[in-house]
Amino acid sequence: MKITIADVDHVAMLARLRFDEDEKAGMAEQLSRIVEYVEKLNELDTGDVSPMAHAVPLRNVLRDDEVRPSLDPEEALRNAPDREGDFFRVPRILESE
């Protein structure tokens, strides 16, 4: 499968990444090669194989409903780039109109 510049634009937008035109061309090229490699799997007949839900053969790892201590708000906010009181302060949510 060929990854187009439009595909790169779309994925970059979803990931909030910005590339210049040269980088986009490079990305399209590299991503195409990766997808082509994975396409090798299409050569296998997987008709009888159910989709894998997890790579580890474990099931039902559960914990009891018990409250454990939370972080002190001071601690929780320590890495926050900005705060107001005990709130995380973030840039306004809507981009400019």
């Binding site: 909030r16 939370s70 972080l71 708000p73 995380f88 949510i93």
Partner: protein, 515 residues
């Protein structure tokens, strides 16, 4: 799929004053609405009332100080692992069973990816292709009949945090404040098939769903606290058509009434557009409570693309039959079944049975009172739905906090039956019981409310009243029968309601016909 987080972004544009095409749904709509029918499906999110969050041990509390219930897991710090809360899964299975769903024998969690400040991990752990429950139904009584509303799916996911905006609206703010206490609280998403055919049916379905969830004790379902949220899908088609129209998604429905009103508005709006021969544009609209209209939400240019993929940090669930049966054995009698039983066993009208069984606590109260009373269940129903409900409403009291024990109500009803108090006085007695929690006998004794059963004492008062109202007494003697009502009233007043009106009537007649 939910996208609650994105809700707030777009509607704000409208709230800030951009006029939407909502104005087109005005007059003339009613005339053409009868040729069309709405097709409605609801997507409900309920917060499960577990003690801890879905994937970490932080307390799942409402109204705690900001960011006081967070940890590296729910803050999405690097290198942490979520561990699934068994209780939340049990609540999910319980709900799926109560909604007649098939419980998945194999279920897993998936990542739903999007950026929003209330979502610290930049993805929400949800369930995509293998939800806990599928293909269920709820029977809802509508307009005297029953409608079976199919449940498409029931799945578990984590809640997002809460954004507080500087100036109340998003657009007016230069920044937002985030509180992550709610992040990771377990949510159950319940999606119905588009089986509802009117806003009233949607309301009835929501009520039934809430009633069931409360019976199960899995959520307190408080819409005002956000522990129950509802989005709606509505399309409109000509009556009799089996083709589905273009669905519109409705958001910001903050009460059951809002759901009903927004759907009614949207039905009229779409019917009018279709009647003009125009097409409906697929979009998400926001209910504007203050203007009582729906307005289109401004969408970002990007299409929804959540890139779901299996959550690698959580292993799948294998839900064995034994576990399902264990949960099944904890199911209470559900409101629909209980309503039928109330009609059958107590001979109650459908209306009484529906109201009494809507809440488990109210139904328990009623049954305890009936058992203690041993008399006519309808009399108990009348008091519970009448005086008790009236006083509860007037004082904002929950049935669990009512100070009148069911046995006390039963004792009072017996006092009416044996003539100790009149039905009229009983209301006064009951008010006092409600306010103080006292037993009826004590209230009656303290307030001197015992009915006057002594004929001689009553006759004396009747004679007094006749003597004080000679003109009226003469009118009665002259055959003006209706005048006797006035005299009865005077006796009741003199006795402060403690006389039996029938006895008073008889005594008056005896005297005024022989005199």
């Amino acid at each position: 799929m939910p996208e609650r987080a994105k809700v707030s972004t777009a509607w704000a544009a409208e709230a800030a004053g951009r006029p939407g095409p909502a104005q087109d749904g005005g007059t003339g709509a009613v005339a053409c609405a009868s040729e069309f029918e709405p097709v409605i499906g609801l997507e409900v999110h309920v917060e499960l009332s577990t003690k801890s969050k879905l994937f970490c041990g932080c307390q799942a509390a409402f109204n705690a100080p900001p960011n006081s219930h967070t940890c590296p897991v729910c803050l999405g710090l690097p290198g942490v692992l979520p561990v699934l809360n068994r209780k939340a899964v049990e609540f999910g299975i319980k709900t799926a069973l109560a909604l007649n769903c098939e419980v998945a024998s194999f279920s897993k969690f998936d990542r739903k990816n999007y950026f929003y400040p209330d979502l610290p991990k930049n993805y929400q752990i949800s369930q995509y292709d293998l939800p806990l429950g599928t293909s269920g139904y709820v029977d809802v009584s509508v307009d005297g009949g029953m409608r079976r509303v199919r449940i498409k799916r029931v799945h578990l996911e984590e809640d997002a945090g809460k954004s507080v905006h500087e100036s109340g609206t998003i657009t007016g703010s230069s920044f937002s404040l985030e509180d992550y206490n709610r992040t990771g609280v377990p949510l159950l998403e319940i999606v119905s098939e588009p089986d509802l055919r009117s806003p009233e049916e949607a309301y009835a379905y929501l009520s039934m769903l809430r009633s069931i969830l409360r019976y199960l004790d899995v959520s307190d379902c408080k819409m005002e606290e956000g522990s129950l949220r509802c989005d709606a899908n509505i399309s409109v088609r000509p009556k009799g058509s089996s083709v589905l129209g273009t669905p519109i998604e409705l958001k910001n429905l903050n009460s059951f009434r809002a759901v009903e009103k927004a759907l009614a508005y949207e039905f009229r709006r779409q019917a009018e557009i279709l009647a003009r021969g125009e097409r409906i544009t697929r979009e998400t609209r926001h209910w504007d409570e203050s203007r009582q209209v729906t307005v289109p939400m401004r969408r970002k240019e990007e299409a929804d693309d959540y890139r779901y993929f299996p959550e690698p940090d959580l292993v799948p669930l294998e839900i064995e039959e034994a576990w399902v049966n264990e949960v099944r054995s904890t199911l209470p009698e559900l409101p629909g079944v209980r309503r039928e039983r109330f009609m059958r066993d107590y001979g109650l009208p459908a209306y009484d049975a529906a109201i009494l069984t809507e809440s488990k606590d109210l139904a328990d109260y009623f049954e305890a009172a009936v058992a203690a009373y041993g008399g006519d269940a309808k009399a108990v129903s009348n008091w519970v739905m009448g005086e008790l409900a009236r006083l509860m409403n007037a004082t904002g009291t929950d049935i669990r906090d009512v100070r009148v024990a069911p046995t006390a109500l039963a004792a009072m009803l017996k006092m009416i039956d044996d003539g100790t108090i009149s039905g009229k006085i009983a209301k006064t007695v009951f008010e006092e019981m409600f306010a103080t929690g006292k037993e009826p006998r004590q209230v009656v004794a303290e307030k001197g409310l015992v009915q006057i059963v002594d004929e001689g004492e009553l006759a004396r008062i009747v004679d007094e009243v006749i003597a004080e109202n000679r003109d009226v007494a003469d009118e009665v003697r002259a055959g003006k029968d209706r005048a006797i009502t006035f005299l009865v009233g005077q006796v009741m007043k003199k006795t402060r309601g403690r006389a039996n009106p029938r006895a008073v009537n008889r005594l008056l007649r005896e005297r005024l016909s022989s005199g």
